[in-house]
Amino acid sequence: MIFRKAMPGFPSVVLAQNPTTNHPKNKKLGGAPVVFSAQTTLRTGQSAVLNAQTLQSGFRTPYFIDEIRISLLSSQFTTAATLTGLSGLVSVLFQTGSYMFSNDAVPVGLLAPIFGTDYGTVMVSNNGGVGDAVRGSSTVRWMLPKPLFMPAGDVVLANVSLNDSALGILNTLFTNDPAVRVTITYVGRLVPQGFEVSHRAVPWLAWWTKSLNEEYKTANTRLRNPFVNPAHVQRFTSRTYESSIASYNEVPLAAQAPTSAAYESIHISDSRGYQITNTRVPIGHVFDTARHAWTFGRELGPREQFNMEMVTENFSGGEFDPDYITNVGLVGYRKESL
């Protein structure tokens, strides 16, 4: 991204007094902090676009978005496992102008390698009253690969959905309070009027999923750079969920031994013919299990792609109940001209 110098007359003292940038790659830019937030309530199978008015700057100046936080709140998810399970059920689709962040709604658990510090531990009371239902919340904090420049008046639209399931999981889980409250927050910085960039880094997300009951599956073209410009891939992310008629919990990524029961393994190559992994590797070894991610940094040329195949090792006919759903995501950005 090429930045021109700040306009003459912009008070440098503001930069000094507001070292608010959260993004380590862009601290020198500074700027006054801005936080925009909106929320909605979803029920089974529903989707909604969050209020765009509250997700944009009212200052009529350009701004950067450094990170996006997504909070999920529900009375039916009050344990750590089910709280993180929500990250596999709620998906989000971002868009700014004609630029999509992804070509499909992405489970929020794939956006960020780690949850916020309150993940799985904070139980907030409904209205704080005695006898109120305990609610659980989890927060995903996605630090964008590059700060996203937003012209004055522009907004990132967020379309969120609570996924239905072929197993009818949600109908069982949401018997009493079938709602999940989704709150999306943009954290960034204002920049002075007239601050210009010629290009901006628009995040790019792609993902695919596989069930343990499927013996073999490939990502096909899901992990492709569909743009005419190179895309920068920051990392792969992955989460596994235990899925049954009565529950949807996140479980650790597995690194099974060769003699163990069924488990997922992954082989990756790219469209240039290079081997990314030398063999099929258990998912617990592909991704850092503490961060649910493999971060590397790689340029992917136009129309290039990662070829990823996932195999259920020790497959014996499937029909695992509970089933295990593994999502794999690709997080990066591409440059788009303004």
């Binding site: 690194a255 031994a257 163990s260 992994t277 258990p282 617990g284 493999w294």
Partner: protein
């Protein structure tokens, strides 16, 4: 050449060391198939399910030790306990397996060692990884290390980035250095040897962290969840020039917290300098103590002629 032209690479291998034995990762398994240089960022380890069914078996991260070399250049000072190499052990409780589910067994545990600096591995140079089981000999006193097993498969993954053909060879490379002191004693006091936590290189060592693991005086060992016990283990650390790193004897679990057992430190250690570690237990513990503390860092090495 810009970093964003690098390609991720993951090289995986399975080895099966015997009880009290050692085994090496087959070099060809972790050899860059692109036949170019690579940067290694992380190395991961995991073990198979143990057979035998003992309820107080030795955790994998205490049972196994690893030796890593870049060509002929040592990265570890002989063998280092896995638990002292990686500060987190993700998967669940160390000695409370979660059997039954397809994805819920011992084998969920993964150790990831994040190298202090990406390690440049030149083309045609092998990364050597040797594993050793640290069990005690049969017939010795009951210790946490006397677990027996019939088969054990260890998975090893080298995670990094493959460099393009025209990537310039750096004049010097930053090579990690990990050295360990290990106490297996019922004594109330233990002092590390001068050649344990030492910079035995000919160049200064940039220390980045210490990683420690202990059974904290318990017989049923869960090193990753070391908590205060009736007989807390305490630790004190100092440099060979007398500088105190930990001035007083403090509980071991405060220096090396259970969730992330590392003590970060940025310091420069001259050749021959060492760190002295002193452990104390107020009274003799009811279980044989196992403590391993490793010093992590890196040093700069001239590239030409030093790799073989």
């Amino acid at each position: 050449m810009k970093n964003n032209t690098l390609s991720p690479i993951l090289l995986h291998s399975v080895v099966s060391p015997e009880a009290r034995g050692a085994a090496s990762v087959i070099p060809l398994d972790i050899y860059n198939p692109n036949k170019t240089a690579m940067l290694v960022d992380q190395i991961r380890f995991s073990g198979s399910d143990f057979e035998g069914g003992e309820t107080t078996r030795t955790p994998f991260n205490v049972l196994m030790a690893v030796e890593i070399l870049l060509g002929s250049i040592p990265i570890t000072n002989k063998f280092v306990t896995l638990g002292a190499l990686a500060p987190t052990y993700i998967g669940g409780e160390g000695n409370a397996p979660n059997p039954g589910g397809p994805l819920g067994s011992d084998a969920d545990y993964v150790l990831t060692w994040h190298l202090p600096k990406p390690l440049y591995v030149p083309p045609m140079v092998q990364l050597g990884i040797n594993l050793k089981c640290q069990q005690t000999e049969p017939g010795q006193a009951q210790t946490i290390l006397n677990y027996s097993f019939e088969t054990l498969a260890v998975r090893v993954s080298v995670v990094g980035r493959s460099l393009p053909d025209d990537y310039p060879i750096p004049g010097e490379i930053e090579v990690p250095w990990v050295t360990e002191t290990q106490a297996r004693t019922t004594d109330t006091r233990f002092v590390s040897r001068d050649n344990d936590l030492v910079n035995s290189n000919k160049v200064p060592l940039q220390v980045t962290q210490f990683v420690g693991i202990s059974n904290a005086g318990r017989t049923a060992v869960t090193p990753d969840t070391a908590r205060p016990t009736p007989y807390p283990l305490t630790v004190q650390m100092s440099l060979s020039n007398g500088t105190m790193l930990i001035r007083d004897q403090i509980p071991f679990y405060l220096a090396f917290p259970s969730d992330r057992r590392l003590f970060p430190l940025s310091a420069r250690l001259q050749p021959g300098a060492f760190v002295r570690l002193e452990l104390e237990q107020p009274v003799e513990p009811y279980g044989v103590q196992f403590v391993a503390v490793a010093m992590h860092g890196y040093r700069k090495i001239q590239t030409p002629g030093t790799l073989g």
